[in-house]
């Protein structure tokens, strides 16, 4: 028995880990939204996505957690950083923050949260009568290539079209003569 297990029993350790993951998620989300320097926002988004990957681990699928880190943190955040560097918004003057707009946004966000929370609390969630216990990544791959094959191909097509469209849009834009 290692000394850490003497100090805290394993179930408490799991709870502490869960609290840490939730804290990281929401601190990252707040950093992603609040500061006015856009680079801090991207780093906060990366932190929040790492927290969400931890949540996926607690929800029992390490494969999706790894994909979250690979795709979101590794690809999306890095490409946003590239866009920031290419468009140099850091050198431009930041627009002044207008208080009524922030207040209105806070009001809308709170309203959405209250409505969603009321729905979550009021609905009697029923689990399915028969639940399969197969969580493995092998079954996931099997489903992707048999039952959900069409959707898989469509996602590939959408990604291809998006990449071509991105090249065309950013390649043919010229500065407006003015």
């Amino acid at each position: 028995m290692n000394p850490l297990q003497n100090l805290v029993p394993p179930e408490n350790l799991a709870q502490i880990g869960f609290a840490a993951v939730v804290t990281v998620t929401f601190m990252g989300a707040l950093i992603a939204v609040l500061p006015r320097n856009i680079l801090y926002n991207v780093l906060g988004l990366a932190l929040s996505l790492v927290g969400v990957a931890g949540l996926f681990l607690y929800l029992g699928s390490p494969f999706i957690a790894l994909m979250e880190i690979l795709i979101y943190v590794g690809a999306i955040c890095i490409s946003i950083v590239f866009a920031i560097m290419l468009s140099r918004p850091l050198h431009l003057s930041l627009p002044k923050r207008r208080l009524p707009k922030v207040g209105l946004a806070l009001g809308v966000g709170l309203l959405v949260f209250v409505i969603l929370g009321a729905i979550i609390a009021k609905t009697p969630w029923r689990r399915a009568p028969v639940r399969s216990a197969d969580w493995s990544t092998a079954t996931l791959g099997n489903y992707l290539l048999t039952r959900y094959d069409l959707v898989f191909e469509l996602i590939s097509l959408v990604l291809l079209v998006a990449i071509l469209g991105a090249i065309i849009i950013s390649g043919y834009a010229r500065r407006r003569p003015s």
């Binding site: 490409s79 920031i84 468009s87």
Partner: protein
């Protein structure tokens, strides 16, 4: 930690933070970041239903993978639009993009 509603509240809170950021920011990249937060709130919801309610615990994971693919495509398109817009009007403040205002 091990109940459906706690995960649903986490997802709802992430979504609300994303909506707050979407309405509050005026740079396009900031709005894109807020949209990513909202997509992640939806993903957390799918994974929670998958873990606690669904008859087959694979389908939620597949949905989450598809959300990630759509998010990647959306980010590529949005970033190229941002770059084109920056090259045209030398700013990423959306209130200066008023060419199509009519």
């Amino acid at each position: 930690m091990n109940s459906l509603t706690s995960y649903l509240f986490i997802g709802a809170l992430l979504f609300s933070v994303g909506i707050f950021g979407l309405f509050q920011r005026r740079t396009l990249i900031g709005m894109l970041i807020a949209i990513e937060l909202m997509l992640n709130g939806a993903s957390v919801n799918f994974m929670a239903f998958n873990r606690f309610l669904a008859p087959d615990p694979i389908i939620g994971q597949i949905y989450t993978l598809f959300i990630m693919g759509i998010a990647a495509a959306e980010t590529a398109i949005a970033l190229s639009i941002i770059l084109a817009l920056f090259r045209t009007i030398r700013s990423i403040n959306i209130e200066r993009a008023r060419e199509l205002r009519g």
